[in-house]
């Protein structure tokens, strides 16, 4: 035990020495704000990036979009690159939290899909505020041992067959959007809130429990608590490949919730030059293919990157199916009044769930 501790201590000291030396050799650094474990902080990629450019990358993390906005507001000039969900890009730009990107410096930009590149949330007054990075779908996944064939309808979540066997995420916006899809409404501007309320209340006998993280989802699924549960496309592929869970992700015929994450440059970034380089590195097909193959990633906004994946890969097989993807409704910006209304509706529904 002591011996092992001694060796660890020596190793740590050596690592610290290397880190110190490295810091002296490369004074240049950039600061990135993102979800933890979401691509930008993969160590093998950062090592290569600093070999190439001499820039070391420092990370800070957030756990919700609101927290990300709060961090940008309270620490101006502290970050270079920030990951922002497209539904929040406009708000960040309006509040003056991010600055326009010099698109000429992003050499891989022309390989991204035009629909995402020209997303109305990314281009404001002719200026580009975000570069499309990855996208995915929020829908549901089924435990294939509980199903003879994979369902095609979102109504499966409401089927009495699965009473007390459905996993649901405790997130107001997501819950309301699922109900909007099931009642045939626009997820960004639902008009019939009474129908949504009814639909959410009808979930009462269905829900086993709420899940809050990918890790928890995997645990509940492997403990056989769920027949089916709402989930994210990228996570479903990780559950399947990395954890070996018998799950299948479903994009229902009624539709699904789509999200697009963009990379932006924070206002008054200390190192805008390095920020441009890093964004370009992140949408490079080389990085993406390695990320998806070794770790599991959402779908890339770069068409060349997706084409570089093996044909059997989840992102090519499921999200490459244009017929399925055409049913996906992408999340747009949401004003505070609607957000507040959705939150109240969900809390009221959760209260109704109590006996």
């Amino acid at each position: 035990m002591l011996k092992r501790f001694g060796r660890t201590a020596v190793g740590l000291a050596a690592a610290a020495g290397v880190a110190l030396g490295a810091a002296q050799a490369m004074a240049e650094e950039i600061r990135v704000l993102n979800w933890q474990g979401y691509g930008t902080d993969e160590p093998w990629s950062l090592e290569k990036f600093s070999e190439h450019t001499g820039i070391s990358v420092v990370h800070d993390y957030f756990n919700s979009e609101q927290e990300m906005l709060t961090k940008l507001r309270t620490n101006p000039g502290a970050y270079d690159v920030v990951l922002i969900n497209s539904a929040f890009t406009r708000q960040a730009a309006d509040e003056g939290l991010i600055q326009p990107i010099e698109t000429g410096k992003i050499t891989h930009l022309n390989d991204t899909s035009p629909g995402m590149r020209e997303n109305a949330n990314f281009i404001i007054d002719g200026k580009t505020y975000a570069i499309p990075w990855v996208w995915g779908v929020t829908s549901f996944a089924v435990d294939t041992t509980d199903f003879t064939e994979v369902p095609t309808s979102i109504e499966e979540l409401w089927d009495p067959k699965h009473a007390g066997r459905v996993g649901w995420r405790d997130d107001a916006v997501e819950a309301v959007m699922f109900a909007a899809i099931a009642t045939g409404q626009d997820i960004n501007n639902p008009s019939d809130f009474d129908a949504i309320r009814e639909k959410l209340r009808a979930l009462k006998p269905q829900i086993r429990t709420f899940w809050s993280s990918e890790d928890e989802w995997n645990q509940f699924m492997s403990a056989n608590e769920f027949d089916l549960a709402t989930y994210w496309s990228g996570s479903a592929s990780r559950s399947k490949t990395a954890f070996g869970l018998p799950v299948e992700f479903v994009i229902a015929e009624e539709g699904a919730i789509g999200w697009l994450d963009g990379l932006s440059i924070a206002k008054d970034a200390p190192n805008p030059e390095g920020a441009h380089k890093f964004i370009n590195w992140m949408i490079d097909p080389d990085f993406y293919v390695a990320w998806d193959t070794n770790v599991g990633a959402p779908a890339s906004a770069n068409e060349k990157a997706n084409a570089g994946l093996p044909e059997t890969s989840f992102n090519r097989a499921v999200l490459g199916d244009s017929e399925k993807v055409s049913k996906v409704q992408f999340m747009g910006p949401m004003d505070d009044a609607l957000r507040e209304k959705i939150l109240t509706l969900w809390q009221e529904t959760k209260t109704y769930y109590q006996e």
Partner: protein, 293 residues
């Protein structure tokens, strides 16, 4: 001679006052810094339209307090939380008081120390670890279900996880040491000769318990009840993990406001409303309790 003693006494009094000040001052300063300051910041937040971070404008408003009275579900959840607090306190008393009585009056010496250790042991483990270990016991195919089915084959699934009883079980386990410790202290202070006198005057065991032990132990029971009731009403971690779909309480809604939605003002307002109701309950209960003593 008399004058000399008097100044000596005055001097001693002043020295004593200084000592008291020196001994309690740091504690009060610490309390002021750690409780009063953050709490008043939260009180201020509860009257704002927005959390005052960055260059977002915030205005003074009563809207957050009005929200509580406008939406029925806040009141439903508040009532549910108070019911949870009352039930957990009741079960803690039901199981904790006999345990304290046995510890104080029957068991002596080394055994008492060993049993005390068992009572305090849960305090030494992290609250989150305690609750997660309950999930291993209560969940489907978990320890309890396997055990029951082993003793009584064919019982089938118990379905205890993600239910209201599961929350009660977890919370009672977490808070019962408070009840045992406070009851133990007041029970131990009861003079044994009082009980002997009662017995020799012909009082039965139940009469002794009802007329003598319970009234004398009341301060301990009351202290334990307050220590349990107040935090349980605001609890959020245990309901969230053990309650599943049935785990929405005012505490979890307040937590949502702070961690998920970042509506600090509404979260603060709900907390202060809860605090107000708790204080009111204590205020109403205290004269009745004083009379009992």
């Amino acid at each position: 001679m008399a004058a000399v003693t008097e100044t000596g006494a005055a001097h001693r009094r002043r020295a004593q006052r200084l000592t008291i000040f020196a001994m309690t001052g740091p504690a009060y300063l610490w309390l002021a810094l750690t409780i009063f300051l953050p709490l008043s910041a939260m009180a201020y937040f509860s009257f704002l339209t927005d959390a005052p971070f960055g260059n977002k404008q915030a205005f003074l408003t009563l809207e957050n307090y009005r929200a509580f009275f406008q939406e029925d579900f806040y009141r439903t959840l508040m009532l549910r939380s108070f019911r949870l607090g009352a039930e957990v306190t009741f079960y803690c008393f039901l199981f904790g008081f006999p345990c304290a009585l046995v510890l104080a009056k029957t068991i002596r010496g080394r055994w008492r120390e060993a049993l005390f250790l068992l009572v305090i042991l849960p305090f030494w483990s992290n609250a989150l670890v305690r609750i997660f270990s309950w999930t291993m016991v209560l969940r489907g195919n978990g320890v309890l279900e396997t055990l029951v089915n082993w003793i009584l084959p064919g019982t089938g699934p118990l379905n205890l996880m993600f239910s209201y009883p599961a929350i009660i079980v977890g919370l009672v386990h977490s808070y019962i040491p408070y009840m045992i410790l406070t009851c133990y202290l007041s029970l131990q202070a009861i003079d044994d000769s009082l009980i002997e006198a009662a017995r020799s005057l012909g009082a039965g065991r139940l009469t002794v318990l009802r007329r003598l032990i319970l009234p004398l132990a009341m301060p301990g029971i009351f202290a334990g009840a307050v220590l349990i009731f107040v935090p349980v009403v605001g609890s959020f971690m245990e309901p969230r993990i053990l309650g599943g779909r049935n785990g929405t309480f005012i505490g979890t809604i307040i937590e949502d406001q702070f961690t998920a939605v970042f509506n600090w003002p509404l979260g603060a307002a709900l907390s202060f409303i809860m605090l107000g109701i708790v204080l009111m309950i204590l205020l109403i209960a205290s004269p009745a309790l004083r009379r009992m003593r």
